[in-house]
Symmetry: C3
Subunit: 204 residues, 3 copies
């Protein structure tokens, strides 16, 4: 089940990355690269930071084909996609949960300590979007507002807690996905945000 | 021969990186760093993604001296360089081909599958420029227009095809360089581009 | 002693990173991430480039807590911090020296050649700030002016020279810190800069 959600999620992330590339009037190569980076960049940063070689997608060329094709197809169907905004919000939220769990598992299997496991989950969930925004010349959205990284953090904590008490995997996944989706979609619906830090002094 | 072209190419890339730094009014350190990153950044990203340690330039301090000196010399001779625009276009195109082949070879030697070998070639060819543009605060040019990454992709495919049919190395290099240079220079001359994706909806 | 200076320095760097995040009106997550990256990003880039796995902070969760807490506390005490500008200049300079020495030591222990040892020191000293500026959407300050990277370079050279002549560690550290602090603070006080490269030709 996690793999299915993961494949749907990287497709959705790749398509949202392609739209961001389209907003910057990139060419086909730019669209394909941003799609790939948005979908697989978080896992790549995680693998490199954890010293987890070979990096995951180098062993799964099908992920590359999937994300690049999803990105390029978006060029054709973009005009119809605003009808699907809500569907994509749900897929993106499901992806955030799946990415976070997969990131935690990677670090767990390598024997890292709990704080690093949580950070590995967060990075997998969040850094694809960070790299997309930086390649598009923008300050990463996830640093500015929206409850996004926080959802990833909560998902990681909940997942590790349930794992610790040896709850069966099915129930754990069900609980983590429903909680993660509920919080993320509520955050979007009601505009929940974290406190913002404003500091006006440019010189120091 | 490939090494000679490589050394000329990293020198030319370092000098073009230094000009980009000069456009942003950077100091000597900025110029040296941008020169180094433009010339050797693509290979560095490739080595890290493939888990190819030690990273190439850490075993070749002469590459570091060469690119840093080329960058700093550019500060002195920049005023004469617009006469050499066409020469640099050719050197840059030759560099793109050389970088791509070297990138493919690195991945081949490590036993990666063909799609990863091609991507390793592309990254080596293209990412020095991506990192230069990002450090200069610009959306990477290679994502926007110009047939640049596509040339790298074609070069990688042609190189691997000739390699597969065990064509002698000299002929392979000759064929790949002449094809790559011809396409790249034609693309610049006649303004060939890939289709651009425009998507105006900022909200979704 | 080096460890004490290091802990004080990453705290100070985290707080200055948090102020930069505040200037971009980031939320709590953005502040925590920028604080972490500013303080520990240089060492992370060094570890990855040298193939030094596991990356240092993954073995020291206390560094993560320290930098994240320092960043978040800055949100509360920012309004009082302009009184402490001079203190932070000194802490930042001491941090630059400590980061550089630690970076050199990491590369020395791994048996890298001298040029790579020096570059490892420079990267550790400088790249936290580079990554902070890039995440904040700015061209890295260290590439533009201020004698900052140069101080790191001088510190690395002096440290390796004293190490080569087997000067006792206490005296070496004393000499390196006093020289580094003196140059850095003089550079700030009297506005010392490196020559700047201006190149106006946008087209080539």
């Amino acid at each position: 089940m996690l793999i299915t959600v993961y494949l749907i999620a990287i497709t959705a992330e790749a398509m949202s990355g392609a739209l961001a590339a389209g907003r910057r009037r990139m060419d086909m190569f730019g669209v394909a690269l941003i799609a790939f980076v948005t979908a697989l960049g978080g896992g790549t940063v995680r693998d490199i930071l954890l010293g987890h070689f070979p990096v995951s997608w180098t062993q799964h060329p099908e992920y590359i084909y999937l994300t690049v094709c999803a990105g390029l197809s978006t060029m054709l169907i973009a005009r119809f996609m605003h009808h699907l905004r809500e569907l994509f919000l749900v897929l993106d939220a499901a992806g955030l949960v799946a990415f976070t769990i997969i990131g935690c598992n990677t670090a767990l299997e390598m024997g890292y300590s709990l704080p690093i496991v949580i950070i590995a989950g967060l990075i997998t969930g969040v850094f694809g979007g960070v790299m997309r925004d930086m390649l598009c010349g923008q300050v990463p959205l996830v640093l500015k507002h929206e409850l996004y990284a926080s959802v990833s953090l909560l998902v990681a904590l909940l997942y590790l807690a349930l794992d610790h008490y040896q709850i069966p995997a099915d129930i754990t996944l069900l609980a983590v996905f429903s909680t993660g989706l509920a919080i993320r979609l509520s955050a979007v619906r009601w505009g929940w945000t974290l406190p913002v830090f404003e500091y006006a002094n440019e010189h120091w």
